[in-house]
Symmetry: D2
């Protein structure tokens, strides 16, 4: 893809109640704004009385002249059709803060994929409640902040984190962050905090999933990336995967094997979020991969 065309690329996500002619309406609207559709994805829960979801990727021939106008007119259209919508352009690279505790594999995978261009975003900072990963993160040229968290300092710690990220990041990735965020914090980033849970949810909700998987004698272990809500491990699932294990795996072996699943599942979820390929509806996601 030529750099030039990518600079004119935008994405529109729409959720709205089904209505005859809705696809015509949207495609005509885009045509009127000189948008050249590159990819069009759609999903309907029920063509008679359901919801319709659309993702449209398009190029604007004269981006500077038309993008703001498009944004403004979209507001009116959305009102008429009761649309929830989101318009993004490639010109504004998404910025993620990564929250970690001590485990290296997930954060390093994200950094590696950002550097290799597989995830088209920036990482302005990594925030951790421990200092263990400072060196490996800073070695990659990325800013690292240590904000310790104790039961007493939790509120203060969240305020510090907020002060650091406010206006500087678009979403947050919990890349094995072993703290529970407060409802107030979560409310600031609706559907914009991605967590990796180290089990195939809803199996092994809560702590120590690998030990519990070992004790249960499962034959597959998995990982789940989901948006964070106030219900622990209950937010909308973005991606899941599993790998096969045998009776020869110790609980420690499960952990080692699981780390590879975790980092891939998380990387896919983050990439899709960055590319505006995820629509959240209720407690589920529609993914247009």
């Amino acid at each position: 893809m030529a750099a030039e065309s990518k600079n004119n690329r935008a994405t529109l996500l729409i959720s709205c109640p089904e209505k005859p002619g809705i696809i015509s309406t949207v495609s005509n609207f885009l045509l009127d704004h000189q948008a050249n559709i590159v990819q069009f994805d759609q999903h309907t829960t029920d063509p008679k009385a359901g919801m319709v979801f659309m993702r449209i990727e398009f190029d604007l021939s004269d981006f500077d002249a038309s993008y703001d106008k498009l944004h403004e007119d979209m507001r009116l259209l959305a009102e008429d059709f009761k649309m929830k919508w989101q318009l993004n352009s490639k010109r504004e690279r998404k910025r993620m803060a990564i929250f970690v505790t001590k485990q290296e594999s997930c954060v390093m995978e994200l950094i590696w994929r950002v550097k290799s261009g597989e995830i088209d975003a920036d990482i302005p900072m990594v925030i951790s409640n421990h200092n263990d990963l400072r060196e490996v993160v800073e070695n990659q040229g990325i800013t690292f902040y240590h904000i310790p968290v104790t039961p007493e300092t939790k509120d203060e710690a969240e305020r510090k984190a907020l002060a650091l990220i406010e206006g500087k990041v678009d979403f947050i990735v919990l890349a094995r962050y072993m703290q529970i965020l407060s409802p107030e914090f979560i409310a600031r980033f609706p559907n914009r905090i991605i967590n990796i849970h180290h089990s195939f949810l809803p199996a092994f909700v809560g702590a120590n999933p690998y030990v519990r998987a070992f004790n249960r004698g499962v034959k597959l272990i998995g990982a789940t990336a989901h948006y964070v809500t106030n219900d622990l491990d209950e937010g909308p699932i973005i991606e899941q995967d599993v790998i096969r294990v045998t009776h020869r795996y110790t609980a420690e072996d499960l952990k080692v094997a699981g780390r590879h699943v975790e980092k891939h599942v998380l990387a896919h979820a983050v990439a899709w979020h960055v590319e505006n390929k995820v629509i959240v509806h209720g407690n589920k996601t529609i993914i247009f991969p």
Copy 2:
């Protein structure tokens, strides 16, 4: 899905050169014909100078009044935009002839999925160059024809088969049929003959793939469903899958394990073909699953 609505359901497949506004044009055309779009899938090889492929599934509120008109008007639209297209309605159930030799698993899987409703088609007949499967097929209430094939009688055998299927079937499935069809026969069913090859093509093109997989010591074996062209094992691939094997597998074990992959891969390919989810472009397929 209500039976009523399914009876009004139709599918339109379109391939044409990219052109600005093409999605508006098609969706407006359908809106003008009172079509209520249920699912819209699209793929572009290159938004500037490539090909665009669309699959639109829609309900017609008054099917009897509008379907023929839609068909007629589509002809004109297609001319204007140099479209290759295909319009199908749920009212015309697709009919497949299954060609087999001696192996039971693929043909029985297809029959089973038709009976369970997973494949929404009819099987007016099974044709075999051997008599071995007559009983299991007829036990399922399906007509079985035995047309022996020798090098000398090959032409005649194909003529006999053609006489049986002419006007009675829409497509042909080679469910482990161990004969090579003539170019003349194939030409009558362009992109309408589906073959299952018992390897992960292009590995092990030709005969005895399991023996060759055993000798090569591969760690995965696979199967490939593809449309038949005059180039043996070279037609457009519809679906592929593999399973893991180990040094403990004999060549016979590979065959047994492979049969399960074969029948699933073939069943998926046939289901997609029946649901008009496959567009062939050059030697490749676009699948809208």
Copy 3:
């Protein structure tokens, strides 16, 4: 494998506390009894103070002369080493009763694999609490018994089932049997009742897993084969597998897709049980595939 050699084939499963020289002891014991080892598998939980599990497959050159003696002497060896053990020969084909309710796919898969030789066992009878599957089962030449179950007649129904299977079957397969067996019934077949649960346990323990999977918005659905214990859905897991699904799947689509996973997972578990490849230890299985 020549039929002759298969007739002389036997399998020995052993579980015992670790002890230096235990492998020598067992292999010398077998050598003394003219057993020619074909396959030897072993697993240790902890070489210092754990348990050791062995599976040895061997041919007896003069089966009639040596098998009974081997069996008798094994008793003594087992006493010395505190072994739990199981000796089986290919001459005694395992016999399974299949319990079903209304769903066809699992029971038909088992019948099909028995007929094709993939599962080397007999099916003397299928027992159902409904009459729906009588025809498809009897068409395969297999005896079908209808034993209705109501809350009031449950005890009586189990007694009837026991009367039918007593002495006629070696193990029971619950191939989507929608009744909970009593502890008394289960106690008669320890580690000899295999159930298929239509979810990736421990996710969606209990009823209606597909509906709950749909509501949770999972991206993979699975199935679990396990031995039945008194704790519902908590018995030792034999095999699990999953397949990928998307937001396009309705709850009904999940059910259809899940049926294929179920039947394969169950078939693998039954095959391993038949081939004496499963050792149960506590609430886990050791599988020597």
Copy 4:
């Protein structure tokens, strides 16, 4: 596993013609040498006239006193039974030279797994025919040598490489090394050079597999790790894996997706080699994972 016990751990790999009592012989031999067997794996191609392969992992209670004696006596045993064998101890960590060209992902994955302890080996040096990866490799604290290769200097380049690795490494990993090694070089490291081929062999033998996979329209792409022989891409396969792709993938997308398969397949193969879990027999591998 306690560090102490790991220090006393050794592995014995044996390939020999089948002979009654062979397992007794080997286990008695080890018992006589005070070896406590931790894991015993065996495979027979044919119990009557085939080959038998064994892998035995064991602890020596007094390592210093018994290891050399064991090694010496093994020589005699091997002569009697025409055994090919290999004895390794955990005390001698395996050392690998990694050969690369310009692609980063495979070499970095190996370094990362060595650092995390997943691969229990050393990497004394990385050798490349280009200078591109010097910085990322040296940043990990690993020695990097640049040995340019042209058609004219190929022999000399191999001599330089040999001089560097002679006596310093136990095996070589070609982690996307885009040069063909000479038969003389290969002969020095029989079954000790591991290559990663970026396709599911034997599909797409030779150059540019991703472009050819794109042109063929395959639905899965894969990678193959194998030992290097003089027949290009024909050596014994150690591991293979695939991932699913769609019509939306460009040739470049296939490359990006494939890199993840490549690095995992290669890492598994290297780990198994390091843990002495691979026996080569003819052009196949027996893997005891």
